[in-house]
Amino acid sequence: MMKRDECFRALARQLRAEIVLPVYSSAFDWLEIAPRALNYFAFGAMGLGSSHALGLALGRPDRRVIVLDGDGSLLMNLGSLVTIGAVAPKNFVHFLCRNGSYEANGGHPIPRKEVDFSGLAQAAGYAHCVDFDTLAKFESALPQLLKQDGPIFATLHIEKGALSPEFNYRSLEDPKRRQDFRAALRG
């Protein structure tokens, strides 16, 4: 098992011009670790992070799009795996933070903790699907993983975070972040 913030620090060290789209609890961790204009916070209806990312990957084929999804979130939009598998954008990277719980909503467990998300992605047609449960393996695999043609799916087996942390939604949803994001993409 890994800690989410440690995984994100390892990822942040590898990034250049990629678009990163973190959902829910991941968004707050990511914002603290890597505050950059090319972050897209998947606002609005829960579960649609992977779909926002698919739209971005199609709209900007020149950029790699990395979605930092949650297991509870993905379960709300599981069909998106099949849609992404069918469209098969090469610039699409899907990280799934798997902690077996709806962390942002009271820490309740997901319906079945043992579900094999990488196996689901594989069956849906993703080009590469892997699991990571130690930080050392994740860190050493990352540079190569990020160079492969997508869609790529990686399940990150992480520990549950703190219950009811102090999430600053006002900062996260500041309209200026969206303006900065679009300006950074134009620039």
Binding site: F43, L48, S51, G55, L58, G59, T83
Partner: protein, 175 residues
């Protein structure tokens, strides 16, 4: 031109390239037209809210998009409309083939047809019911420009008066 060619022509003229759709019988000429034309990027989505998420992401990346769905599919999507497209000012073009009226056999479709416009009105989403091919070009073109300029979604409801309705429904009614 028939209604679907006119409709797709207006989308093209307004640079609406990404078309995400949940398949439907009445939408067939639009879906066939989109998938046959390399100008469009078409995505067959599994649900209507998923399709709205895809179009939201594309817009943030600088590409305009439309979501095509059936009346009952619209009823899946009010969460994505109310908490994503409206508050975050995404000018998604919503195209809804109208079921539940003018010869419907399915009671579920009838119920959703009655709440569709009130939901759009409650969310202050501009909507137009397209009944006549002669007026379609003006309505769709001006409304897409308005949606983009004012950064708001817009919905076009394709009436059976325009499309001829669902042939399966007609067959079941007369059986």
């Amino acid at each position: 031109m028939n209604w679907s060619d006119t409709f797709l022509d207006v989308l093209k003229k307004n640079d609406v390239r990404l078309i995400s759709y949940v398949p439907d019988n009445v939408l067939t000429p639009l879906i066939k037209g989109v998938t046959a034309d390399n100008y469009f990027i078409s995505v067959n989505a599994t649900r209507e809210d998923e399709a709205m998420g895809i179009v939201a992401g594309a817009w943030m990346g600088g590409m305009k998009g439309a979501v095509m769905m059936q009346t009952s599919g619209f009823a899946v999507a009010p969460n994505a409309l109310a908490s994503l497209l409206v508050p975050f000012q995404i000018p998604a073009i919503l195209v809804i083939s109208e079921r539940g009226t003018l010869g419907e056999f399915n009671i579920g479709q009838v119920a959703v047809a009655k709440i569709m416009r009130p939901i759009l009105d409650t969310l202050s989403v501009e909507h137009h019911t397209l009944t006549d091919e002669a007026k379609l070009g003006f309505i769709v073109d001006s409304s897409i420009k308005q949606a983009v300029t004012t950064q708001s979604p817009v919905a076009f409801i394709l009436s059976p008066l325009l499309t001829g309705g669902n042939p399966v429904a007609h067959a079941k009614l007369s059986a």
